[in-house]
């Protein structure tokens, strides 16, 4: 692949998804896009770049971006955020007017394990939520992942990652070698195509936002912009969960770490104006 082709492909992916491909990711392009090249009988990545530069390449471009997103997920990934969520949900339930659901956004939801883990956390709390409903939104830029998430069917391997067996038997129905999320949980989650490069305000306001292991793929200006948007959509007593390797430091002043917690961020309190 010529540097020109690489730069073109990297530019396209960045513009459409925010994902930054550094020059050492050439191998990743080869492996992830290989199946598409073979199907389209293209000679290589240079041919692909050429095709994408031509008109009417929209569907192909979307497929390239989809192939380059990382869709790693597991139930209750990293554990700690869900421990925090378990304490937070009853507080929010008590603070909201009757009948108003707690709105949770699983941003870049991949195959849906995070959103379903949120639903299970709420279900396990039971009476502590006083009958308060959750309205969980899962969004992703991969339509394939959204379809999988919506179907809610997981392999034997997937249900053994992060999911305690007691929750497996309680919240899933066995279908041969696979396991389907119970209808009560599926009913709490909506799925929607959404690109974090777009203005997220159309999604509404949220009490809780999970945006974990997404920012790591973005450059600093994009991180800043996304974090600023998230802060703007968050209830004053809400929180944002970020991945273990992610931070707001030096990127936004609108979110601050929750005292004594890791990966939990709150809206910055408006500082008193100097008199």
């Amino acid at each position: 692949m010529t540097p020109d082709s690489f730069n073109f492909l990297a530019g396209l992916v960045k513009a459409r998804s925010g994902i930054v491909l550094t020059a050492d990711k050439g191998y990743m392009l080869e492996t992830r896009l290989g199946p598409m090249l073979r199907r389209e009988s293209m000679q290589g990545l240079d041919a692909l770049a050429q095709r994408l530069r031509a008109p009417r390449a929209e569907a192909l471009a979307a497929e390239v971006v989809e192939a380059l997103t990382t869709n790693e997920s597991s139930f209750f990934r990293d554990g700690k955020p869900f421990e925090h969520l378990k304490k937070l949900l009853p507080k929010l339930a008590a603070a909201r007017p009757p009948g108003q659901p707690i709105r949770v956004w699983s941003a870049a939801c991949s195959s849906g394990q995070e959103a379903y883990s949120i639903a299970m956390t709420a279900a396990e709390l039971g009476p502590a939520l006083g009958g308060r409903k959750l309205d969980i939104l899962g969004t992703d830029i991969s339509r394939e992942m959204l379809d999988r998430a919506q179907e809610g069917v997981f392999t034997q391997f997937e249900v053994q990652r992060g999911l305690p067996v007691t929750m497996l038997v309680k919240h899933f129905k066995q279908e041969g070698q696979r396991w389907r999320v119970a209808p009560e949980l599926r009913a709490q989650v909506r799925w929607q195509f959404f690109n974090l490069m777009e203005d997220p305000r159309t999604l509404g306001r949220f009490d809780i936002i999970f945006c974990r292991n997404v920012l790591i793929y973005f450059d600093a200006p994009t991180k800043s912009r996304v974090l600023g948007s998230l802060a703007g959509m968050l209830a004053p007593d809400g929180v944002v969960y970020l991945g273990g390797a992610e931070t707001v430091l030096g990127l936004t002043e609108r979110l601050v770490p929750a005292p004594g917690e890791r990966g939990v961020y709150e809206p910055a309190r408006a500082t008193a104006k100097a008199g």
């Binding site: 700690k80 034997q156 391997f157 053994q160 990652r161 305690p164 067996v165 038997v169 273990g244």
Partner: protein, 127 residues
Amino acid sequence: MSQRTCLVVDDSTVVRKAARRIIEGFGFRVSEAKDGQEALDACRSALPEAVLLDWNMPVMDGITFLRAARAEFGPDQPRIVLCTTEAELSKILEALSAGAQEYVMKPFDADILRDKFTQAGLLEEAA
């Protein structure tokens, strides 16, 4: 502090060896038994902290060992994780009601065992 201990119970040498390598990687000292009776004898001479337990074995199967161990040593010690090709919901429920802490459906790998040991309270959540 003395090293933590795990007893791997499986009639397959290959499975025992694979499980041993992974669990030693978690910092446990591992011993082996090839059926439930051997496992019960081993527990009587020195109770391990964890037992990774196959279901179908000659002499004494896993569920019989599980019930005997719970009757003899109580509900919490040792922590017992089933590890079996039995993947039917009814089997999982049977093992849980007999007092298993966790359940691994074979085939397994290091990631699955680490997760299940964590959920069984044998390992700390990775930070």
